[in-house]
């Protein structure tokens, strides 16, 4: 099943294991060890997608993580798919089904390429300039067009069935990259007995050395592959090292904290993937980090440099040496350095015709150039490729001589036939992780690259990511720097054979014989931005490289400018006549290469996504058909529908029963803080607005807590259990933050106070029984409590017994009814609840949920922090002046109540609203106006905070905050809704039992 472009021998593929896969619906064959890209190339397929903006045909450019064109979507089961994967990294397996992602309706016939014909109208900033107005076109025209044309992959529609994992890891030395530099660093580090972690994103260690020409590269007399194998075996035997392949470092954070994603099963046949962890996210803390991330080859920027069949020279060499694939039959090479000649020789030796090398340099005397000359390969010195022909595949290159200063082309145009053009613009150190970690770069003006300068972390860069090139130098540097970094005295002798190299020369933008503006020299392949786009951006006044990047979108695609960045910077620097070192680079942000959501989330899915807190009485609520409401992490019983009741009916029934017979509520979620110590009373004086010193033992008091800015923060009832012992209740949602705030003040502002705080929220279950029959029910349930108003008045507390269980009973009320709260040790909660239900049966006791509770308290005008307040409301705004002590010298937030802004008369103030039509229920959140206009905008003076139909008053009631509300009582205001305007009258906030008689009913 040998494919047309498979060489007869060679490569690290397993030729005895043939694998079938699908690409764009068609079946192909490759070998075990192939990537999707190498297998496609072996089948002669270069065209793999369409470009983002112009939908130009695009082919495979590279052989690794930097690939900008060959983005594919992997189709799994229905609704399950992985977008945005690079064909150059996907290892093929039996059953692989991939499609081009950036083409519509197909790679070969692409409607979007009509954009190409109109390309002058899609210059830099096109999106900013065009899709601005009218806004109405956004929804149906622009968005549709952009989404359809953009083609950045499809997201899966079904839940991800795969298993993902997280792993924390600590090591002394982390080495990123297992090329020659990383391998030597690892060998060296192990000499010091360090615990080492060595990771590489590729399936095999060895890096680019894997496809170096063995005639010209040797280490200790060994061929590259032999040396890699020997070194890896040596490492594997050492217990102090952990080796991870297929593991890509996504992020390098401060304090040597790195996030890596390991691919465990993506390369396996579907049947072997089952039940296994697909990817593991490693969270690594390393004492020391050695970056050996290598370098990325740059293309050349010339007119029509984006045709399928134009590939990086090193990639072509890798496809030949590692996969036994020839990428073409008739090859030309365009270069500015000696490395491309190694590709020429490699191909020639494998019997592939290398027709010409076009070199921008005057000459080179390196080993490899001389060898090419010897082999009779035609070299065009001081020349450049200025244009290419072909549509879905390159067919010809146009070559001209460069002028002396390289700014122009001169002489006759030569046309050369070819089916593959290798380009090599030199190598750029992969400094992404270095800069992510906070490192600063320096620019080498001679060699034209950025390299690591300084970093405050315990970290070094070795090898080509440090700007060190040439196998010998790389290996020696890796050993020397590692020895110094880890204080190792031992050294190892390395005899390295490498080709003697010529000098590298650089032209950022190859000149053209066409007039400026007529060329399409692509800088960023994935985002389709050209050199002309960059020029336009500069003409339009964008100077900062960060602005040029955003305006042209250069370097903003999923490859994050791995290919595009350097040329973009180079072109800007040339045009603006700024030194590249001064221009600086754009920011490299994590992740280095895309990472799945699955890996990020790990096992924290479904019920493990967040904690669910349930009260001790939860099971009873569930059994009795409660609907639940989420309050923070708590599940609270919301209402208990009977038969076919809807929410409204259930709440009406529950609310009526609570006032007419008896209601029972699970109040266990309220925050409870136990406060003890010599200065407990003084402490409460300072944190609440009202006075606490004179509260008698056994009494309860409602307190309002402010922030230092004077705004209401929390409220609740606090009970004095003994001289120096209180129990404070907080709102359900505020429990943790109130505790935190109180601790903060105790520890940092008032360390002299002897006060101890303990969270006891979960220690107690709280059963609240209210209504005219509540006293009779409590009398039946508890044993030794005298419920007479004299011995147990409103706002007091007593200890009691229920059977043998100790309980605290508070007579406090949030509904305005006679009401008791029983607090028992949490595990007795449900039995006490059931006792109350049984005792209350004869009185018609009715469980009510949070919604009825809200309604009942609204009838009484009691606020709910977070509903009537939103962090901008003072107690004075709430007309609660009565709770703000004038006598106390200080409390948290006091001074702020006298600021000019908090004393403003026209602040939004708390009021009641009544509708003309008693059946009309306002919408919570609805805006209130004093003056109605035909259409918006209208001057909004407030909003509805709570609104209900009161079954006890038989009319709708609402609470609101309204500007200057205190003075508007009796005035008519309006609530404009979408299709009507509702008239309201400002009223008192207490709608029911203003005198509070029911508390003692």
């Amino acid at each position: 099943m040998t494919s047309k472009y498979r060489l007869s021998s060679g490569g690290q593929i397993n030729r005895s294991e043939s694998i079938s896969f699908k690409f764009n619906g068609k079946t192909f064959y490759g070998y075990k060890g192939d990537t999707l890209a190498s297998a496609l190339l072996a089948n002669g397929i270069h065209l793999v997608g369409r470009s983002f903006k112009y939908h130009r045909p695009r082919g495979i450019l590279t052989s690794g993580v930097e690939e900008p064109n060959a983005l594919v979507q992997i189709i799994k089961d229905k609704g399950k798919t992985d977008p945005n994967l690079r064909a150059t990294q996907i290892e093929i397996y039996e059953g692989l089904n991939a499609t081009s992602q950036n083409s519509w309706p197909s790679v070969n016939f692409d409607l979007g390429s009509i954009n190409n014909l109109f390309s002058p109208i899609i210059p830099a900033g096109f999106y900013y300039k065009t899709f601005m107005w009218p806004a109405s076109l956004w929804k149906n025209v622009y968005e549709y067009f952009i989404r359809k044309a953009a083609g950045l992959g499809k997201s899966p529609t079904k839940k991800d069935p795969d298993i993902y994992d997280h792993c924390y890891y600590h090591c002394e030395v982390l080495i990123v990259g297992a090329g020659p530099a990383g391998l030597v660093a690892a060998k060296t580090a192990l000499k010091a007995g360090k615990k080492v972690l060595l990771v590489d994103e590729r399936p095999n260690f060895g890096g680019n050395l894997n496809f170096s020409n063995k005639d010209y590269n040797k280490i200790n007399e060994l061929d590259p592959l032999e040396w890699i194998k020997k070194t890896c075996l040596e490492l594997q035997k050492n217990k102090n090292i952990k080796l991870l392949s297929r593991t890509s470092v996504a992020a390098y954070h401060n304090y040597n904290y790195l996030i890596m994603m390991q691919n465990l099963t993506d390369h396996l046949p579907d049947k072997d993937k089952k039940e296994k962890i697909r990817q593991r996210l490693w969270k690594v803390r390393a004492k020391k980090v050695i970056l050996a991330t290598g370098s990325i080859e740059r293309p050349m920027i010339f007119d029509c440099n984006d045709r399928p069949g134009i590939m990086l020279s090193s990639a072509v060499r890798k496809y030949a040496n590692t996969y036994g694939v020839k990428c073409g039959n008739n090859i030309s090479i365009f270069t500015n350095n000696d490395d491309a000649y190694e590709t020429a020789i490699t191909l020639h030796n494998k019997g592939v015709k290398v027709k010409s090398v076009i070199d921008i340099r005057e000459k080179s005397d390196g080993t490899l150039t001389n060898k090419c000359r010897e082999l009779g390969i035609k070299i065009y010195w001081k020349s450049a490729v200025i244009y290419t022909e072909g549509y879905k595949k390159i067919t010809k290159i146009h070559v001209m001589r460069l002028s002396k200063d390289n700014t122009n082309v001169v002489g006759n145009k030569l046309k050369i036939d070819c089916d593959l053009l290798c380009v090599s613009g030199g190598y750029t150190p992969a400094v992404h992780l270095f800069t992510q970690s906070g490192g600063k770069l320096d620019y080498n003006e001679k060699k034209h690259y950025f390299f690591p300068k300084k970093n405050t972390l315990s970290q070094i860069s070795v090898g080509s990511c440090n700007g060190t090139f040439g196998l010998k130098k790389i290996i020696l540097e890796a050993q020397e720097k590692t020895r110094e970094f880890l204080s190792i005295s031992e050294t190892e002798q390395f005899n390295v054979l490498e080709p003697e190299g010529g000098v590298f020369e650089n032209i950022w933008l190859i000149p053209s014989n066409k007039i400026s503006g007529k060329t399409k020299s692509f800088v960023d392949y994935q985002n389709d931005s050209t050199a002309n786009d960059i020029k336009l951006a500069l003409r339009e006044g964008f100077k900062s490289i960060e602005h040029v990047k955003r305006y042209t979108t250069t370097g903003m695609a999923t490859d994050q400018g791995k290919i595009a960045n350097m040329h973009a910077l180079g072109i800007v620097s040339e045009i603006t006549n700024t030194k590249l070192g001064e221009l600086g680079t754009t920011t490299f942000r994590p992740p280095y290469s895309p990472i799945t959501f699955g890996a990020l989330v790990g096992r924290n899915v479904g019920q493990f996504f967040d904690i669910t807190r349930k009260t001790p009485i939860h099971d009873w609520h569930e059994k009795n058909n409660a609907k639940f409401e989420d309050v923070g992490q708590w599940k609270r019983a919301w209402y208990y529908p009977k038969d076919k009741e809807n929410m409204y009916d259930a709440v009406q029934r529950e609310s009526k029963a609570a006032r007419e017979c008896a209601g029972i509520l699970d109040a266990s979620t309220l925050g409870k803080i136990d406060i003890q110590g010599r200065d407990a009373s003084e402490f409460l004086n300072r944190v609440y607005t009202n006075a606490w010193s004179k509260l008698a033992i056994g009494k309860c008091r409602y307190g309002l807590m402010l922030n230092e800015d004077g705004m209401v923060y929390d409220d609740g009832v606090t009970t004095r259990l003994s001289e120096n012992h209180y129990v404070m209740t907080t709102t359900t949602g505020g429990a943790a933050t109130v505790m935190g705030k109180l601790e903060d003040f105790l520890q940092t502002e008032w360390p002299e106070l002897k006060v101890y705080l303990t969270t006891v929220t979960d220690h107690f279950a709280t059963v609240s029984v209210c209504g005219p029959h509540s006293k009779k029910i409590l009398e039946k349930v508890t044993q030794n409590i005298d419920y007479s108003d004299t011995s147990f008045p409103h706002m007091s507390f007593t200890n009691g017994l229920i059977d043998k269980i100790k309980c605290r009973v508070m007579r406090i009320s949030f509904t305005g009814e006679l009401s008791y709260e029983i607090n028992v040790q949490a595990n007795y909660g449900q039995s006490v609840w059931e006792k109350c239900m049984a005792a209350g049966k004869e009185f018609g006791i009715t469980p009510y949920g949070t919604e009825a509770m809200h309604l009942l308290r609204a009838e009484k005008g009691f606020i709910i922090v977070g509903q009537e307040t939103d962090g901008t409301v003072t107690p004075v705004d709430l007309q609660m002046d009565w709770i703000v002590s004038k006598k106390k010298y200080d409390f948290i937030g006091k001074r702020s109540l006298y600021r000019s802004d908090t004393m403003r008369e026209d602040r939004k103030q708390y009021v009641g609203l009544l509708t003309n039509d008693p059946k009309e229920i306002l919408e919570e959140g609805a805006q209130i106006v004093a003056e109605v206009k035909n259409k918006p905008p209208m001057n909004m003076i407030g909003h509805v905070t709570s609104s209900y139909y009161s079954p006890n008053l038989k009319k709708s009631i609402a609470l609101a905050v309204v500007k200057n509300g205190k003075k508007l009582k009796g005035k008519k205001l309006y609530v404009p809704m979408q299709n009507k305007t509702i008239e309201v009258i400002v009223s008192d906030t207490i709608f029911l039992d203003k005198e509070g008689k029911r508390l003692n009913a």
Binding site: Y255, T748, P751, R895, S896, R899
Partner: protein, 90 residues
């Protein structure tokens, strides 16, 4: 991403801590005697330094104690940690 050395517990991952803003702001003893401007200075104004900043941290998922740290905000390096009421080591 930091590692913070709690003065009570030792080195821990930053995810155990919560940030408490600028340190050494002393709550005025007599707020009522301050002008609006003076009170606003205490209540709202913060230095937000680029460079060495003294700040409050709480070991909220550990010992729950507050302490101070001297952190260089330009590179997040923590130069020293010290207990409430103590002075930073220079």
């Amino acid at each position: 991403m930091f590692i913070i050395k709690c003065p009570y517990c030792g080195e821990r991952d930053h995810s155990e801590f919560s940030y408490g803003g600028e340190a050494h702001l002393v709550r005025p003893k007599q707020p009522t005697e301050l002008s609006d401007d003076q009170w606003a200075e205490y209540l709202f104004m913060r230095k937000n330094i680029k460079g060495l900043q003294y700040e409050r941290w709480n070991h909220s998922h550990g010992c729950r104690r507050w302490f101070n740290a001297a952190r260089d905000t330009s590179n997040d390096k923590i130069h020293s940690v010290y207990k409430i009421g103590e002075k930073p080591n220079k």
